[in-house]
């Protein structure tokens, strides 16, 4: 079970998209808990750059624990994409840049999508995301 969950948070720290890919957790998180996690990561991201002992640090790019790994990509607009996976899962960077491309193509170019708002009704985006995850898990 390589990829667990995928999140997109807007530049204010609000969760605009979230999806679980595996029934990896016995006690699944509720929508509110996902919202909180998204906001929480936004905070960690900002604080990490503040405690840097060297100049010019970005926010969090990667976090690893014994059972899970988190990888984050921040677009220039401040939108953050992050994915959680098992620590052995490779090529999460490629995954995130590919998802960013889908986001640009199927969300941002959707005339009904309002910037910074939750992503809904973008079926093509979801379909491509699912296919990408399936290809990585195979």
């Amino acid at each position: 079970m390589p990829i667990f969950s995928f999140y997109i948070i807007n530049k204010a720290g609000g969760l605009i998209y979230q999806k679980d890919f595996e029934d990896y957790k016995a006690n699944k998180l509720m929508v509110n808990e996902h919202l909180r996690l998204g906001g929480f990561f936004h905070g960690i991201h900002a604080i990490a750059a503040q405690v840097a002992p060297v100049a010019g640090s970005s926010g969090v790019e990667e976090i690893e624990a014994s059972t899970v790994k988190l990888r984050c990509f921040q677009a220039l607009t401040g939108t953050k994409f992050f994915v959680t996976a098992s620590p052995s899962q490779a090529s999460l960077d490629v995954f995130l840049s590919q998802v960013y491309e889908y986001y640009a193509d199927f969300v941002l170019k959707n005339p009904f999508y309002e910037l910074e708002q939750p992503i809904q009704g973008c079926d093509k985006f979801v379909a491509h995301l699912d296919a990408l995850v399936a290809s990585l898990s195979a």
């Binding site: 079970m1 667990f4 969950s5 990896y24 957790k25 998180l29 808990e33 996690l37 929480f40 990561f41 905070g43 960690i44 604080i47 990490a48 750059a49 503040q50 405690v51 840097a52 002992p53 060297v54 100049a55 010019g56 640090s57 970005s58 926010g59 969090v60 790019e61 990667e62 976090i63 690893e64 624990a65 014994s66 059972t67 899970v68 988190l70 959680t84 098992s86």
Partner: protein, 142 residues
């Protein structure tokens, strides 16, 4: 220098020990205490965060990486937290921190009857042993 700083916190968030091997950026607002509080807050909340995103509620936080540094972490059951900042391409140093705890902290601080709980460590033998150990790590010479 590829190893930047080391922090040791007790369970209450007091910074028991801080040392650096050359850092190019001073603490935020030039206030070391502020930086220690920020870092302790980060490490503290990390535990909860990892537990939530981990598949089996047991994720032990190991490291956090940004474009400019890597923060290695080791926490004990008694609530001590060791945090080591290195350059971002270093291998994970959690085991080195565990060694630092078992072979340096325990003999020089935990077993030392003169050390008051929650007091900043000024013990010279400890300071020297920490420096010797960290500078002997392969990551230090990279």
């Amino acid at each position: 220098m590829p190893v930047y700083t080391l922090f040791i916190f007790d369970r209450k968030g007091t910074c028991l020990y801080y040392t650096d091997w050359g850092r190019s950026r001073p603490p935020t607002h030039n206030d070391p205490e502020q930086e220690q509080k920020l870092l302790y807050g980060l490490l503290f909340s990390m535990k909860m965060f990892m537990k939530q995103i981990s598949p089996d509620d047991s994720g032990d936080f190991r490291y956090l990486r940004t474009s400019a540094f890597k923060l290695h972490f080791f926490g004990t059951l008694s609530g001590l937290r060791f945090a080591l900042f290195t350059h971002p391409s270093a291998a994970n140093q959690s085991e080195a921190l565990e060694h630092l705890y078992a072979e340096v902290y325990v003999p020089y601080v935990a077993k030392n009857p003169l050390v008051e709980k929650g007091e900043v460590i000024t013990n010279e033998a400890f300071v020297e042993a920490v420096d010797d150990y960290i500078t002997s790590l392969p990551v230090f010479a990279e």
